[in-house]
Point group: C2
Chain length 299, copies 2
């Protein structure tokens, strides 16, 4: 189609103008066959142009942004994903998680996966202690996996992982921690029950020696996450659930660096000083108890 000489006011101008800057970019995408990519890029372009018009960056600020993105890219390796950290710390990961896992009321809420999940963690027997390095305050976790009506789900898999008593995951300390420390997969029987032994998780910083850590620092933000245990629950006929349970009273609960906390995910951790009960459960005294049921959504 030939461009008209007398463009109506709503028509996209033939050349770039500050006023219609995003329109000019979006108009270029019309030949793209990938309709979804066009839709996503159009929304991103419109919102990024709007943000730029709002803040009116200097050319030095623009160059600083280019340099930040470049440094963030250069920080990424096979074992460090700095752009995911950026997404996490800006609440983008939580937003994408929330959009993709809207749950009916009464079912367990989701939160972010995080970078430390390992596929194929060892299968454990109910009651096993997943803490293989013997450090930390002992913890007993138990509960049921349920459907929306409160009925138990048999054959549900709980994939559990957490950091050790010093706030590091096994994969962050290969050679120091035992392999597959504080990880395991448990499968419920007909009563939907599970139980295992571990340690009370503690708060720890996300990796903050890179560009994202520097950004947090300049924004007056700390890099800490409140102590938590990760879970993925999978059961035939149900949507899989990726979530955490957090330790109440943790000083970072309201300022989690990755904004992962939801009120319903603060666990009911209680401390017990009861040597006979500790012996019965196979735990060092004193010990912590966390009762936790998970309610899944049918597929």
């Amino acid at each position: 189609m030939k461009a008209k000489t007398n463009a109506a006011p709503t028509e996209v101008p033939r050349y770039f103008t500050e006023e219609r800057s995003a329109d000019a970019v979006v108009a270029r995408m019309e030949a793209g066959a990938d309709l979804r990519l066009r839709e996503v890029m159009a929304a991103l372009v419109r919102h990024i142009h709007a943000a730029i018009k709002e803040v009116e960056p200097t050319e030095e600020e623009w160059m600083a942004a280019i340099q930040f993105l470049t440094d963030t890219g250069h920080m990424c390796t096979d074992w460090r994903q700095e752009f995911i950290l950026l997404s996490d710390t800006l609440g983008v990961s939580m937003l994408v998680d929330s959009i993709n896992h809207r749950k009916p009321s009464g079912t367990t809420e989701s939160t972010v996966l995080g970078p430390f999940h390992v596929a194929d963690a060892p299968r454990r027997e109910m009651g096993d202690d997943i803490c293989l390095d013997g450090s930390g305050e002992s913890l007993y976790v138990s509960g049921r996996v349920l459907d929306g009506s409160g009925a138990p789900i048999a054959g549900a898999e709980l994939d559990v992982w957490q950091a050790n008593g010093e706030g590091f995951y096994d994969v962050q300390q290969r050679g120091t921690q035992p392999e597959m420390n504080l990880r395991g997969r448990f499968t419920t029987g007909p009563d939907g029950r599970y139980w295992f032994r571990s340690i009370k998780p503690c708060s720890y910083p996300i990796p903050h020696d890179g560009p994202v850590g520097k950004l947090l620092d300049r924004l007056g933000r700390h890099p800490y996450r409140p102590g938590h245990i990760h879970f993925i629950l999978r059961a035939p006929g149900f949507q899989s659930l990726t979530t955490h349970l957090f330790v109440p009273g943790d000083p970072y609960l309201e300022s989690d660096a990755v904004l992962g906390v939801k009120e319903s995910l603060i666990g009911d951790f209680t401390r017990h000083d009861d040597p006979p009960r500790a012996a019965e459960l196979g735990l060092a005294n004193p010990f912590w108890v966390l009762p936790a049921d998970f309610t899944l959504v049918p597929t």
Copy 2:
């Protein structure tokens, strides 16, 4: 300040919620001492969250975006800036340029610098031929540097650069092209006049063998820029001006991959078949003529 137990509806919730996702992130920045960074990041976070809510990306799409940014970062080297290409092709560079160089009417408009400028190009005498490899259609460029009242500016420097007859800058073909081919700096005398010889510029693709090139391709966009000559004008008492002059009739004028074209920057290139005049100007016949005045804004 202690968080209140009974939060008013407008108060930011204590924990992440999908509805108030951007507020939760922005509230975390309040301790940052760098007010400007907080302002910029708050605007970016609000607009990026709005874009995400609009398109509702799947988790696979989010991961594809993370991978795209990572690949773009890994493509960046000392001599290749893929994030600037991304900014250029999404119209962000032009928008930042426009915001920072709003010009009074009647003065010459700016456009993007591009990645091929070299500081300290050689000083040339008026009339010099900046084309050192003798290929391309010959061109005579001449005009004046003026202030807003039409008075000539003496001692104005024109820093000129362009691609060769095959669409490559000297810095892209080190060892093949003569050093400082198609570059030079000219200084006006009391009449504000300048004149030099070169070749008619041709269209060329931006580097498109990386992630940005792949993105353009999936969006149905080509990587070409219409033929143009770059100029930076500097004169004491005036704002420096970074601009291009484009070749009229170029097939890519209305689809410049970096959206750099403004209507006022399309030059008045005309072709001449006039052997005596060509001999007089020291040009091969036939030849092109480009008359071009530049009007600068006082500081």
